[in-house]
């Protein structure tokens, strides 16, 4: 296949889809499948055949719509009617009323308008809209046109300049400017050069990257291809969590299809670009999110970080210049090239362009996957989009940024979400997890939960992280058993700061964040535990009451 053929495929597919008056999109992502989405897809296919509307209505499987709490979700186009908690009986009603009679079934619709309206879906533009297994669907929605543009009109340097103009920063957590990273690697000596796409979403409570891979794998592939062209790399690895079978399967199929059409492989679309993509499975190591650890893991070793410099941009995978990029960042790339860097830079907040995907979970009315412009406030996310806290309970804290993020109190709800503001408040962007915690949770218990996680996930290479975190865990144990002393507050604070300052990698440096932020914003709760021996949420002082841990 050659460059011009992309346009042809798009035209044929658009014509094909135009022949249908309606399109029923059945969400078949990891959230909806446990709720019976696959059977539902078949039900719809049978129903349109049974009622003789198969020529009028296209039934497609799609990725995540985002309203995971009301799955299985079905969207009818045109008009984007979102139906919630669809059962086979409801499916029959939808087909008869909406498809045959043209009357949307109002009482079955997902009615939360703000959930949709407050979002700005760029990365998730195709999620819930296209069939991830059909490359034609992606191409018809404008897919691979950015790649064609790069290969025909732009030099690698111009691609990097466009990304620089967009102000795109890495979505993996640290927020490093993408264009800067790319130009380091493009200028670095040594070949071959490599790209690693990080899909090892180790943060518990986060599923944005998985959803992206399940819903729109070709956006990721296109992003990789453009990155490869810009920096002169011919090989990319997608490092995926092994616990994401559907994402792996979707990606494999997408890679095979793209190879078949010569979109990846030798002489991509008849040009001189060669590019190969390989999937590598992680095996359950949180620390593999750190860039030097991910390199070790792709090389087949333990995922243990090493000191930097040398940075991966100069000496990465097998000692060669390597770009390591989060998949969300990569999915932004085609859009930026399509619409221009200036367009992208206007979205979001001034020093933080674009959008960010967040998994909003915990004690919240509308848990799910959202994409919002940078700079939106936590209040808008929790209350407008998330629908507030269930059972009329009050919000106690918001955990932002995963297990090494921070617990922020309700007084900080008007904090704009961007890398700098979150950092000042003691949290991190991380991979985009927002967990709402209500007054039924004890924050001492919650902080210990995260420390437990980091103790288990510490690779053991550097002492502050390996030993320090265990010490913190022991102090928490003591507090929760009623053995704590008021001096423990100071000790925790000192120890946490020490670990933050002296650990080798990001895991150790951020692991004490939940402790530091709970100490900063919820000191009273520590005092209650230490002085009054009381736990308002009734989580502590239970089974081990009176037991002397010494």
């Amino acid at each position: 296949m050659r460059l011009a053929d992309i346009q042809k495929i798009a035209e044929i597919e658009v014509d094909f889809q135009r022949a249908y008056k309606y399109r029923i999109n059945v969400c078949c992502s990891s959230g909806c499948i446990p709720l019976g989405a696959i059977n539902l897809l078949k039900t719809f296919q049978d129903l349109v055949t049974e009622h003789g509307v198969i020529e009028n209505c296209l039934v497609a499987r799609t990725g995540c719509v985002g309203t995971c709490s009301v799955g299985p979700v079905v969207v009818v186009e045109p008009g984007d009617y979102i139906y919630e908690k669809v059962t086979p009986e409801k499916a029959r009603k939808i087909v008869i009323d909406h498809i045959i009679l043209g009357l949307p079934v109002k009482k079955l619709l997902f009615e939360n308008k703000t959930f949709i309206e407050k979002q700005h879906r760029l990365v998730l533009r195709n999620a819930g809209k296209i069939d991830p297994y059909r490359i034609e669907d992606y191409i018809a929605s404008g897919g691979y046109s950015a790649l064609v543009k790069c290969l025909t009109k732009l030099s690698p340097q111009e691609v990097i300049d466009e990304i620089a103009a967009s102000g795109l920063r890495g979505r993996g957590g640290a927020g490093f400017p993408t264009a800067k990273k790319w130009s380091f690697v493009s200028r670095a000596h040594g070949s071959p050069k490599y790209i690693i796409a990080n899909l090892d979403e180790g943060d518990p409570g986060v599923f944005a990257n998985r959803t992206l891979a399940e819903a729109d794998p070709h956006a990721l592939i296109e992003g990789l291809l453009i990155a490869g062209y810009a920096i002169g790399a011919e090989k990319a690895f997608i490092y995926t969590r092994a616990e994401y079978p559907l994402a792996i399967d979707t990606l494999k199929k997408a890679i095979n299809k793209a190879s078949e059409l010569n979109i990846i492989g030798k002489n991509v679309l008849g040009t001189s670009l060669n590019f190969d993509i390989e999937i590598r499975l992680g095996a359950g190591a949180f620390v593999a999110g750190e860039e030097t650890a991910i390199i070790a893991s792709v090389e087949g070793r333990r995922a243990m970080p090493r000191p930097r410099p040398p940075y991966p941009a100069t000496a990465g995978l097998w000692g060669k210049p390597t770009v390591i990029q989060n998949v969300e960042t990569l999915a932004n790339i085609p859009l930026i090239l399509q619409n221009g860097g200036a367009w992208f830079s206007k979205i979001g907040s001034p020093n933080c362009a674009g959008t960010k995907c967040f998994s909003i979970t915990g004690k919240i009315n509308n848990p799910g996957l959202i994409e919002v412009p940078m700079g939106i406030t936590l209040r808008e996310v929790i209350f407008d989009i998330g629908g507030g806290i269930p059972e009329n309970r009050s919000l106690k804290a918001v955990l932002v940024g995963g297990p090494s993020g921070g617990c922020l109190p309700d007084i900080l709800l008007d904090l704009p979400i961007d890398y700098e503001s979150l950092k000042t408040a003691g949290a991190i962007m991380g991979s985009g997890g927002i967990v709402a915690i209500d007054d039924q949770s004890c924050l001492i218990d919650t902080a210990k939960f995260f420390i437990d996680f980091c103790v288990a996930e510490s690779c053991g290479k550097c002492t502050p992280c390996r030993v320090g975190l265990v010490k913190i865990k022991e102090i928490f144990k003591k507090i929760m058993q009623g053995e704590g002393k008021i001096e423990d507050i100071n000790l925790l604070s000192k120890l946490s700061t020490f670990i933050t300052e002296t650990s080798l990698c990001g895991l150790g440096q951020t692991a004490p964040n939940p402790v530091l932020t709970t100490l900063r914003y919820f000191k009273q709760e520590y005092v209650e535990h230490l002085v009054d021996r009381s736990c308002k949420a009734d989580k502590c002082f239970k089974e081990n009451k009176g037991v002397n841990i010494n």
Partner: protein, 191 residues
């Protein structure tokens, strides 16, 4: 790279001919059955490269359900890496299991969202009711209870996987009932 080179040279002494490999399989107590052949074929496909170790371990676990020491030793010989290195990698990653799981496997998600929604209490209830500890199996080998860090089903948390089926929004009663019925069915079938 350097470490890798060192590992290679230090393992030169255990270079084996294909024939010797067969013997080692017998010595290691591995039956020369189809499973071993499958593993061997996969390693050949990977050119017995050390950098494919994670892929090979994934394959081994897919074939055997877990990876015991003998299989690890076999892999180490085949890809010419010290057994200590292979063992180190296999035990570093929590996804690789070193013990045979029970006939039925319960995997509880202990991600943040599920934790906040009370999965810990459900895990404790399973432990208590079926005499099984997290990470281990029941004495009769019928049931294993594993903990995983987030399966990404956060919106429908707490989530528990029972024999490959993800069950969302679980309650203590629901899980206990499901497990009981699975074990009862098992009993009837064996009778």
């Amino acid at each position: 790279m350097d470490t890798k080179k060192n590992l290679r040279s230090s393992s030169q002494s255990i270079l084996l001919s294909p024939k010797k490999k067969d013997n080692s399989a017998v010595n290691l107590g591995l039956k020369n059955d189809k499973r071993l052949l499958k593993l061997e074929n996969f390693m050949r496909k990977m050119n017995y490269k050390g950098c494919a170790l994670l892929e090979i371990l994934h394959k081994a676990q897919e074939i055997y359900g877990y990876i015991n020491k003998n299989v690890l030793a076999y892999i180490a010989e085949a890809i010419e890496l010290p057994a200590s290195h292979v063992f180190g990698v296999a035990t570093f990653y929590s996804y690789f299991k070193q013990q045979q799981p029970g006939k039925h496997v319960i995997t509880a998600c202990l991600g943040t969202a599920c934790y906040v929604k009370g999965v810990e209490e459900i895990i404790c209830a399973i432990e208590k009711n079926f005499s099984v500890k997290r990470g281990g199996s029941s004495d009769d080998g019928k049931l294993s209870l594993f903990i995983t860090r987030c399966i990404g089903a956060c919106a429908i948390g707490p989530a528990i996987i029972i024999d490959d089926d993800i069950i969302g929004n679980v309650t203590e009663d629901l899980v206990l009932e499901k497990i009981t019925s699975i074990l009862e069915r098992e009993k009837i079938e064996t009778c």
